[in-house]
């Protein structure tokens, strides 16, 4: 690696390989940039905007911007974390998130990020959208109430499983949702399998395996043990 291939992240020197994005280089170095839709195994989606950083004074998404030598990147500043908190609140009000009754609690990236950024309330009035649950599949339950539109399941099903079980469709706050690849729109009518990569990619509690409730008790789950910012390397699979 060329010695000049470094940039500053909140004053810390981060090395990078040419072609790496800011978040890839930061993650490889163990530095946490908050994110929801980015996953180290997949190409960036750039939709959640949690990873918004300030590069040489201008806003940009750390998951899509390539690292350049000498960049000065602001990350965990009060200004940016404040914006991220508002974005998190937006997620919480646009969906129906009830952490105490959610099987994903403790393993949920949305919840863990909200703790990390000290989000104390949803702040805005809730939208209470009507999002039906799909229990048609023998092994998998889909609870769209928790969907954050990250598209990771879309990408995983397409790129790893080669199945295209999911696609993002519709427009705007009312329309945008995951479309299922069957005429009925039900997962049970697709070739989706519990062993698919897409079945284990959901960062929140939409894609759940049936008959596997609370196998690890609350209190001993991933983000119960350490905050998400302290587990950057571990999330790389």
């Amino acid at each position: 690696m060329n010695a000049t291939n470094t940039f500053q992240l909140d004053g810390e020197e981060i090395p990078f390989a040419p072609g790496q994005t800011i978040i890839q280089a930061a993650a490889a170095h163990g530095a946490y940039i908050p994110h929801l839709c980015w996953h180290p195994d997949f190409s960036p989606h750039g939709s959640c905007k949690l990873c918004t950083v300030k590069v040489n004074g201008r806003f940009g998404s750390a998951c899509t911007m390539e690292a350049q030598p000498g960049m000065e990147v602001e990350n965990r500043t009060a200004e940016l974390d404040d914006k991220r908190r508002t974005l998190l609140q937006m997620f919480f009000v646009e969906g129906n998130h009830f952490c105490p009754s959610c099987e994903k609690s403790g393993n949920c990236v949305l919840q863990a990020t909200a703790y990390e950024l000290k989000m104390m309330s949803p702040h805005f009035d809730m939208f209470y959208p009507d999002r039906p649950v799909d229990a048609s599949h023998p092994d998998i339950l889909l609870d769209f109430n928790r969907c954050i539109m990250c598209s990771l399941c879309v990408t995983a099903s397409r790129e790893v499983d080669g199945k295209n079980v999911f696609a993002m469709g519709g427009r705007g706050i009312l329309g945008r949702r995951i479309h299922i690849n069957s005429e009925s729109g039900r997962l049970g009518d697709t070739d989706f399998a519990a062993t698919d990569r897409a079945a284990s990619i959901c960062p929140v509690g939409v894609i759940l395996h049936k008959r596997k409730g609370f196998a690890v008790p609350i209190g001993e789950r991933t983000y119960d043990l350490a905050p998400i910012s302290a587990q950057v390397k571990e999330t790389r699979s």
Partner: protein, 603 residues
């Protein structure tokens, strides 16, 4: 012909090519009325795409119906200029006469009535679309007649022809609209110059994009020309952005109506310069009625050897296709437009790469505004230096403004860049104006003390809209109309825009109900700061502009609605009972929360 025969004929005509999905879906819907689940399954199988992708596209566009729609689908244009011309009362009258709730299909499946974003008829509103055909100048008597025709199930094709008349209303011509070029003249001048010299002329002219952003056309063409195509079939493309969706803008409609040859000629010149063989014109769905006239203009050009192979006896080959949009403002963003051209939802791409290196089908693509391409013909015919003599130093040439709102002579005005807002107001017969919304909702709201400002990239850049508001207008309601527009048009891809536009809309509605407080104003500013920096594309970045501008320049319009409290909850107990009232058919005092609590207080 059975439904499956219709579907098969359409997909076959489009060579079962998934990238033509938008046109496939539109043509099927024109014949079958809507896109049923079985239709989407059949189309997906025919083009070899996952069904979820096909339904994802079908559900993205407002003009595609994945549920049965009425035999007559009436959509009232709901721009602020239509509002000012009384569209709300007319639509209410229509719904009453039809015993219909807005947005619902009547029980007998006959008709639905709803609103749609600006249809580009602001100088001749109130406007509407009936089965996606444009109708202008609605009046109470026309509403009555129309309801009669709908009830009698008279086919739309047999409705009075004058209802469908769309006027150009050209009020001021300058070098572009008063040009004396004959078809082929500019193109043959370009061919004579050769691509390098033609490119140099465009650079000498310092032509900048007319879509509002003002990027140098010469640099864009040069970057596209220099970019290598990729894959086994490398190519370059010219795309004409005729998705004129910015509310209050209608100059491209006039160019495509009366100057279409110039637009196609500009596309051909661009193709010649960048080395493209194919051009695509993306026409907004609201202008569906222009498709046939445009196709016949293309046919005439082919016949006259101005399109096709060996154009004007040279070895230059260029073809033009027209693609229709289907009601999505975001497709005006060039990378979203390209996604749509490829048959996908109009979601702006991550940039870089920019379209000039990786655009349509991953190939170098120049996307230019209708007016920019038309202007390039003047440069081809008269040279770059001649063109640069017009306008200002940084904004050469002329700009076509779409003037609407409170003025005597709404319509099309072409000015050299540098004209003052005051001059335009004088020319269009606007009196007692308090504000001009320049360049539409995503532009700038100009107040009276700024009327000396000039239309130019260095002062007030514009995509063309020029909406005038006189002192009787409520600028809060103007901003609220725009807030609703952005919430409806947000593609939903990124969080700040998807949720933020809805939060802004809700807060504006709360203030409109006299439930706002100074706290809500602070919240609006906070959302503006977030959305402006963090959104994925220009839509989200500019979605708060009208709220921000009116808050700064017309603060009293907000303040007189605010309760003198620090905080007022958004949740309204009485409003929450409205559903129960509707279900029980009650609206008496006892069915209202305020009345109950007063009774309790007395007791």
């Amino acid at each position: 012909m059975s439904d499956t025969d219709v579907i098969d004929a359409v997909v076959d005509r489009h060579r079962r090519d998934g990238t033509r999905l938008m046109q496939i879906l539109r043509e099927i819907q024109e014949q079958l009325g809507w896109l049923s689940p079985a239709t989407l399954t059949r189309v997906a199988a025919a083009v070899g795409w996952p069904r979820a992708m096909v339904s994802g596209t079908a559900s993205f566009y407002s003009f595609f119906h994945t549920r049965p729609r009425g035999k007559y689908c009436v959509l009232w244009s709901d721009n602020i200029t239509d509002r000012m011309l009384g569209n709300a009362d007319l639509m209410e009258a229509m719904c009453k006469k039809l015993w219909l709730e807005p947005g619902r299909v009547s029980e007998d499946g006959l008709v639905s009535v709803n609103t749609t974003s600006c249809t580009g008829m602001c100088d001749q509103g109130p406007a509407l679309l009936v089965n996606y055909r444009a109708i202008t100048r609605m009046t109470p008597s026309r509403v009555g007649e129309m309801v009669g025709l709908i009830r009698d199930q008279t086919p739309v094709a047999e409705w009075p022809a004058e209802w469908f008349a769309v006027d150009d209303n050209i009020r001021r011509k300058d070098i572009l609209l008063a040009n004396d070029l004959v078809p082929g003249q500019a193109l043959s001048a370009a061919l004579e110059r050769g691509p390098e010299k033609m490119l140099a002329a465009v650079k000498d002219a310092r032509l900048r994009g007319r879509g509002g952003a003002g990027f140098s056309t010469g640099l864009k063409w040069e970057a596209c020309r220099n970019a290598a195509g990729s894959g086994t079939a490398p190519a370059r493309y010219v795309v004409c952005n005729a998705d004129e969706g910015e509310p209050g803008t209608f100059k491209d409609r006039v160019l495509l109506t009366s100057y279409a040859y110039l637009v196609f000629e500009g596309m051909s010149i661009a193709g010649f310069v960048v080395g493209a063989k194919k051009g695509l014109l993306y026409l907004r769905g609201e202008y569906r009625y222009l498709l046939e006239p445009l196709e016949s203009t293309l046919a005439a050009r082919r016949k006259n050897n101005l399109l096709g192979k060996n154009i004007l006896g040279t070895d230059f080959e260029f073809h033009i296709e027209i693609h229709l949009g289907a009601g999505a403002y975001v497709c005006g963003e060039e990378s979203a437009l390209i996604e749509s051209l490829e048959g996908k939802p109009g979601r702006p791409r991550i940039r870089p790469p920019f379209p000039v290196t990786s655009g349509y089908l991953g190939q170098p693509t120049t996307v230019n505004n209708v007016e920019t391409l038309a202007a390039s013909c003047l440069i081809a015919a008269h040279g770059g230096e001649w063109y640069a003599q017009h306008g200002t130093e940084k904004s050469t040439g002329t700009k076509i403004l779409s003037v609407s709102g409170d003025c005597e002579r709404p319509g099309i005005y072409e000015y050299p860049y540098g004209v003052s807002v005051r001059q335009v107001l004088e020319d269009c017969g606007a009196t007692d104006s308090q504000a001009v919304q320049n360049s539409g909702p995503s532009g700038v709201c100009v107040a009276e003390d700024e009327f000396g400002r000039r239309i130019a990239f260095e002062d007030l850049p514009t995509a063309g809209a020029f909406m005038v508001f006189d002192e009787t207008r409520d600028m809060f309601e103007v901003a609220r109309n725009f807030a609703h527009f952005f919430a409806h048009e947000s593609c939903g891809f990124c969080t700040p825009c998807r949720v933020g536009t809805t939060l802004v809309r809700n807060m504006m509605d709360k203030i409109a109900r006299n439930h706002g407080s100074p706290y809500d104003i602070d919240e609006l500013f906070k959302l503006h700061r977030l959305m402006q920096g963090a959104s994925h594309c220009g839509l989200g970045n500019s979605a708060c502009n009208p709220v921000f501008d009116t808050l700064n320049k017309f603060r009293p319009a907000y303040e007189r609605r605010l309760k003198s409290l620090d905080y007022e909850p958004a949740f309204d107990l009485d409003a929450a009972l409205s559903q129960a009232r509707q279900m029980t058919g009650r609206d008496d005092a006892g069915a209202h929360f305020a009345a109950n609590s007063e009774d309790e207080a007395k007791a």
